[in-house]
């Protein structure tokens, strides 16, 4: 295993890091033997490290099944990491006991992907938004209602809607309720798990703009999960690209989009259909499917589909190393110990 996370990039080093994820790994039992012991594992998240600054929006991108949600769930304590650390606001959450950890729960909130499944259909939305405040005792009982109204306005819902049930709302409105619920406890970090992917095109912009506004207004920090680079581009400051449980590339937005280093990122970018005829890019069509995360082969996870694959890719795991300033990439193409490649020279320029 490569040791690629403990040195924070220089850009971050001096700054106030809110969340520091180190070597986070999550395995799920895929097959069990007679006595219920796992015999093979889904490597859902495999040695993932990244940091998020206060007030920053960090985008996490990758195709379906690459482990984005699993990362998010581990952050909000819905799943226990198999190994690795989550250092939040200077404290190691993974080392805490459940009771201790509970007090940090409210600082990290989650916005779900599916606006239809994430609101209890049998509760009025007023109660849904009030619930976290009551559960965490952060607002006196008699102030709850006023605060609910405030939150509703914040997310662009009229306060008379308080007494309605979720099914009376459209997807976009529900997602806004979900946002209000997350805001209710004044969290420091909000994990947005594909908050717009289930929404209509015309509604997506509403939610994205809203998240932007709120970030501005309350100085929130986001972990923004998405599977398309286009959405992330609009919201995040820095972006991490995941593939099959591993981070392939982390870079500030501008650098990543202007000059993607990892072949996977390049393919991902090119696969996004362009609306503008002017900006027709060269298309890279990847062959094959994402392989199964159950007991993945050694070496680079992307090796099987890579169009720039080298001999070593199949057996050795590339390190996530800083190739350009603040721009790190896990790819053998940029391995200084290997013979120089065209890409390496280009990146060096």
């Amino acid at each position: 295993m490569s040791d690629n996370g403990n040195i924070a990039s220089p850009e971050l080093r001096n700054d106030d890091v809110l969340l520091d994820v180190q070597h986070l790994t999550k395995l799920f039992a895929a097959e069990t033997n007679f006595f219920g012991k796992a015999t093979s594992y889904v490597h859902a998240v495999d040695d993932v490290s990244f940091q998020i600054k206060r007030g920053e929006a960090f985008g996490l991108v990758g195709e379906s099944g690459c482990g984005k949600t699993t990362v998010g769930k581990m952050l909000v304590n819905l799943l226990r990491p198999t190994s690795g650390k989550i250092i939040f606001d200077g404290k190691d959450l993974t080392a805490m006991k459940d009771s201790e950890r509970k007090s940090y729960c409210k600082d990290i909130q989650l916005i779900f992907q599916d606006p239809y499944a994430s609101l209890n259909p049998r509760m009025r939305i007023g109660d849904i938004i009030a619930e976290p405040m009551i559960a965490n005792n952060i607002v006196p009982k008699d102030k709850v209602e006023a605060r609910v109204n405030e939150l509703l306005e914040c997310v662009g819902l009229a306060n008379y809607m308080r007494n309605r049930y979720p099914h009376e709302f459209s997807g976009g409105q529900r997602q806004r309720v979900g946002i209000a619920r997350a805001l209710a406890v004044n969290p420091k970090l909000i994990v947005c798990d594909e908050p717009v992917s289930a929404l209509d095109v015309s509604i997506q912009a509403q939610v994205l703009n809203l998240l932007d506004d709120l970030k501005e207004e309350f100085g929130l920090t986001y972990l923004f999960i998405a599977h398309g680079l286009n959405v992330v581009k609009h919201v995040s400051d820095r972006v991490g690209v995941m593939y099959l449980g591993r981070i392939m590339e982390i870079a500030p937005k501008r650098s990543l989009y202007a000059d993607p280093l990892s072949p996977y990122t390049q393919a991902l970018l090119s696969a996004i259909p362009a609306v503008d005829s002017k900006s027709k890019r060269e298309r890279i069509i990847l062959q094959g499917d994402v392989p199964s995360p159950i007991d993945p082969p050694p070496g680079c996870r992307f090796a099987g589909r890579c169009f720039k694959r080298l001999g070593v890719c199949g057996n050795s795991v590339p390190e996530l190393r800083e190739v350009k300033e603040n721009h790190r990439c896990a790819c053998h193409l940029y391995d200084p110990e290997l013979p120089p490649t065209e890409e390496m020279t280009r990146a060096a320029r």
């Binding site: 039992a29 895929a30 069990t32 007679f34 219920g36």
Partner: protein, 339 residues
């Protein structure tokens, strides 16, 4: 798959142990004293005490249980207090009757239930749907003994077209063989007896199958409605398949998955439900016998019956699961066990 079956068979053991404990507790601790019934009118208190001692009923309860378990594992279910016959042979003599009836009933119930259910689903909200659902519901709503007696009244007492009692006219009864008369008569080529066996089966089968039929109809309908809405049905229709072939080949096969589970469960409950039907139709099975034995506090037999039914029920479920796996290629047992 084999591993899965093995695992399931092992899981059966604690269930059966539990069943014996429950029934042991109910019979030994709660039920009334069998001695007065067994020994008859003239028995004195001393005779009864002696008898209890003979049968180990004054041992501590756990010891009785251990004794029972030890001999049960050796295949000895004990001897009936009342008839002094080994429980195993009492059950062997009666079980085929119940099994034959239950099998016929489940077959009739499945065929009619599935047919009605499919009809109802395909003609959703039309007359045929409402009619078959009401029919099914009436089946579920009538007390079995009531409908049985009414059927006897109509077909036997009034129209004289069907016999009201027993499995077969005694002189035609096939001897030896499996005890499954349909099978035995066919094996012997005795078609007069086969006819006789079949006419005797009609009323009890109908009565017994009504309840299960209703359940299967309901299940088939809802399962069928669900599959008819599935995407692959649209795909099949987009291929240009005829409606019939879509309904049968694509919808029904998938709809059968949950239905098969229900049918399996029904067979278990039919064994229990046969009890009232057997009473009404003088059917020589274990159902009526079991009730009598409960009422006579004939503990060894009650234990035996319950154990037998539990074994059948449990293995029925196992069988259903295996059939399910066979019907549904998606299920690869052993791979997914919720943990």
């Amino acid at each position: 798959m084999l591993k899965y079956i093995l695992k399931r068979i092992l899981m059966v053991i604690p269930v059966l142990l539990g069943v014996t404990i429950i029934i042991f507790f109910i019979t030994r601790v709660l039920a009334s004293d069998p001695a007065p019934v067994v020994l008859g009118e003239h028995a004195t208190a001393e005779a009864m005490a002696a008898w209890r001692a003979d049968y180990g009923l004054d041992d501590p309860i756990w010891m009785q249980y251990v004794n029972f378990l030890v001999s049960a594992i050796q295949g000895d279910l004990g001897t009936s207090y009342y008839t002094h016959t080994p429980v195993a042979s009492e059950l062997a003599a009666r079980f085929p009757a119940t099994a034959e009836l239950a099998l016929c009933a489940i077959i009739v119930a499945s065929i009619c239930g599935i047919a009605l259910g499919v009809l109802a689903a395909v003609k959703k909200n039309k007359l045929a749907d409402n009619a078959s659902m009401v029919l099914a519901l009436i089946g579920v709503s009538m007390p079995v003994f009531w409908s049985g007696i009414l059927l006897i009244l109509l077909f036997s007492a009034t129209l004289h077209i069907l016999p009201s009692s027993g499995r077969v006219t005694p002189l035609l009864q096939p001897t030896g063989g499996t005890g499954f008369f349909i099978f035995d008569t066919i094996a012997k080529g005795d078609f007069e007896a086969l006819g006789d066996v079949l006419v005797h089966l009609v009323l009890p089968t109908v009565t017994l199958s009504l309840y299960s039929m209703a359940i299967i109809t309901r299940m088939t309908r809802s399962s069928m409605l669900e599959t008819l809405n599935a995407d692959y049905i649209r795909t099949a229709r987009a291929k240009g398949l005829a409606k019939r072939s879509v309904n049968v080949k694509h919808a029904l096969r998938n709809a059968m998955l949950p239905v098969s589970t229900v049918i399996g469960l029904q067979l278990g409950s039919l064994l229990g439900g046969a009890l009232l039907t057997e009473t009404v139709f003088a059917w020589p099975g274990i159902g009526k016998f079991a009730v009598d034995c409960v009422l006579k506090s004939d503990f060894p037999v009650v234990q035996g019956v319950v154990l037998l039914v539990a074994v059948i029920f449990v293995f029925m479920n196992l069988l259903v699961d295996i059939i399910y796996a066979w019907l549904d290629p998606r299920i690869k047992y052993g791979a997914k066990e919720e943990g």
